[in-house]
């Protein structure tokens, strides 16, 4: 599913923020990614969701070596990855419905199919009565759920969430992680970046730990 081999990453001409990262995420697995602030968690995720390229080493996603994959194939690969950004990254001028629909519109799905699926999914995450609300009128928890709905509406093979519980209370955080578990049970590979060790301890999943740009894998998972 995702394979990193001796990967390093730097921004422009700056120092390496990741060094010699090697790991393999199997299809259908569930991993937490943790480490102190500045350890490189977000950088690692950026490589995984194909926002940036490695400065050294090999990144393979869905069997494609990203370094050598033609640019025209990247949109198709990215559509198989759902991303929940730490800062949500919703489009403020669009309603919750249109924010979630964006992933499907981009994929060229017909409008009548989009309407039905989006309403159903937003109801499932508890926002059935906020379909036409814009992000500025939503609470952080509601924005988080819209962002999650946008990430999962296309039934991605790989779901990546960057600090999905960072700006919401513990109860809501647990609900979101349970939601990810449900998705994982139907075959979605899940990677959740968090620095909340208590949260990690509540689940029996493998932990990818980053420390000063280097990497260890802990736990065996279910």
């Amino acid at each position: 599913m995702v394979r990193f081999q001796g990967v390093a990453m730097r921004y422009a001409n700056g120092p390496e923020v990741l060094r010699d990262v090697t790991f393999h995420l199997e299809a259908g697995s569930y991993h937490f990614l943790t480490g102190p602030s500045g350890a490189g968690k977000s950088s690692l995720l950026r490589l995984m969701y194909l926002s940036h390229c490695a400065s050294r080493g090999t990144v393979k996603v869905f069997g494609h070596d990203i370094e050598t994959t033609p640019r025209r194939l990247l949109p198709g690969l990215r559509r198989r990855i759902g991303v929940v950004f730490q800062d949500f990254r919703l489009l403020d001028h669009l309603s919750a419905r249109d924010n979630v629909a964006l992933s499907l519109r981009i994929a060229g799905i017909k409008e009548d199919v989009i309407r039905a699926h989006v309403a159903e999914l937003l109801s499932w995450v508890g926002l059935g009565d906020r379909l036409d609300a814009t992000p500025s009128t939503l609470s952080d928890g509601e924005k988080q759920r819209v962002a999650i709905a946008r990430a999962v509406i296309g039934r991605p093979s790989l779901l990546i969430a960057d600090e999905p519980t960072g700006s919401i209370d513990e109860i809501q955080g647990m609900r979101i992680l349970r939601l990810f578990e449900e998705l994982n049970r139907i075959g979605t590979t899940v990677v959740v970046a968090t620095h909340d060790q208590r949260l990690i301890a509540r689940f029996n999943h493998r932990v990818l730990r980053l420390q000063d740009g280097q990497f260890t894998v802990e736990g065996r998972g279910p």
């Binding site: 926002s51 949109p75 990215r78 489009l91 669009l94 964006l102 981009i106």
Partner: protein, 293 residues
């Protein structure tokens, strides 16, 4: 059903705010240039049609009117006997006086000034007349006669008409280039303003063509609005000029009223502006996005 908003918040940025007004101004200028070219073409065509297949024989005045009359009679007889000549009509003296009135005043006919005599000729359709030979024969028979086939006058008119049309076309092309450049700058500005959202759209799987579609639709919409305004202003201006110039319109001034061809040309301008905006925006966006990851 309500119109779906653009995925990118174009309404919230100023990158395209002035585009409709600039396009309106450009379409207005293009409309004036196009109407001028069309009116000139129609006028030249009308003049051509009026003079084609005709000629005029001018008889210089003799020392006395009897001599002039004899020369006219000899010329008329020769012309009527010439193959291919359909009609021969001597222009009445008072008509000649009326033609010369702007230069000689209203009493020219009664002033005793020796005025030339004119004979209007028309030729049979498809008749092959050797004008040089006819002119020579005429001068041999009537030395004071001169054949004018209007060719020099027609050639100059056509050259003038072509020059006006080429100038108008050049103006329209320059306007189109300027409109394209304006759209390029507005689009680049929009790309810079929305860079973060474009990156986001890429990350959730958008192809460059989908993002370009957003920009080109927006540019098309702005250009059509501006184009419609520009054409309305152009039509209003031409209509006003037609009303103002009507009292002095005649054989010389082009007819400025909006005919079918003018209306078609005006209606096409916003569509052309829209097409330029659409294509330019698309190319600009696709070229810029190719440099993004």
């Amino acid at each position: 059903m309500a119109r779906r908003p653009y995925d990118l918040p174009f309404a919230q940025d100023g990158s395209g705010r002035f585009l409709p007004w600039i396009i309106a101004l450009m379409v207005y200028l293009a409309a004036l240039a196009s109407i001028a070219a069309l009116a000139t073409r129609e006028a030249v065509s009308r003049w051509n049609a009026g003079l084609e297949g005709t000629a005029t024989v001018e008889i210089a005045p003799a020392l006395d009117s009897a001599g002039t009359d004899a020369a006219v009679a000899a010329a008329v007889a020769l012309l009527r006997a010439t193959p291919g000549v359909a009609t021969v009509a001597v222009v009445p003296a008072d008509e000649i006086a009326r033609l010369l009135e702007p230069w000689l005043g209203p009493d020219a006919a009664r002033s005793g000034l020796p005025l030339p005599r004119l004979i209007d000729l028309t030729f049979a359709p498809r008749a092959r007349v050797d004008f040089a030979a006819l002119g020579g024969t005429l001068v041999s028979a009537v030395p004071s006669a001169r054949l004018d086939t209007h060719s020099q006058w027609l050639d100059r008119l056509q050259a003038l008409g072509q020059s006006v049309q080429i100038a108008a076309l050049a103006i329209v092309l320059l306007i189109a280039i300027a409109a394209g450049a304006t759209v390029v700058f507005a689009t680049r500005s929009g790309l810079a303003v929305h860079r973060e959202l474009i990156e986001l759209m890429h990350l959730i799987g958008s192809r460059d063509s989908y993002i370009a579609q957003q920009f080109q639709s927006h540019a098309l919409s702005l250009a059509l609005r501006g184009g419609a305004l520009g054409v309305a202003l152009g039509a209003g201006t031409v209509g006003a000029l037609a009303v103002v110039s009507r009292p002095i319109q005649g054989a010389l001034l082009p007819d400025l009223s909006l005919g079918a061809s003018s209306i078609v040309a005006l209606a096409a301008l916003p569509l052309i502006a829209g097409a330029i905006a659409l294509v330019t925006a698309r190319i600009t966006v696709l070229r810029a996005l190719r440099k993004m990851p």
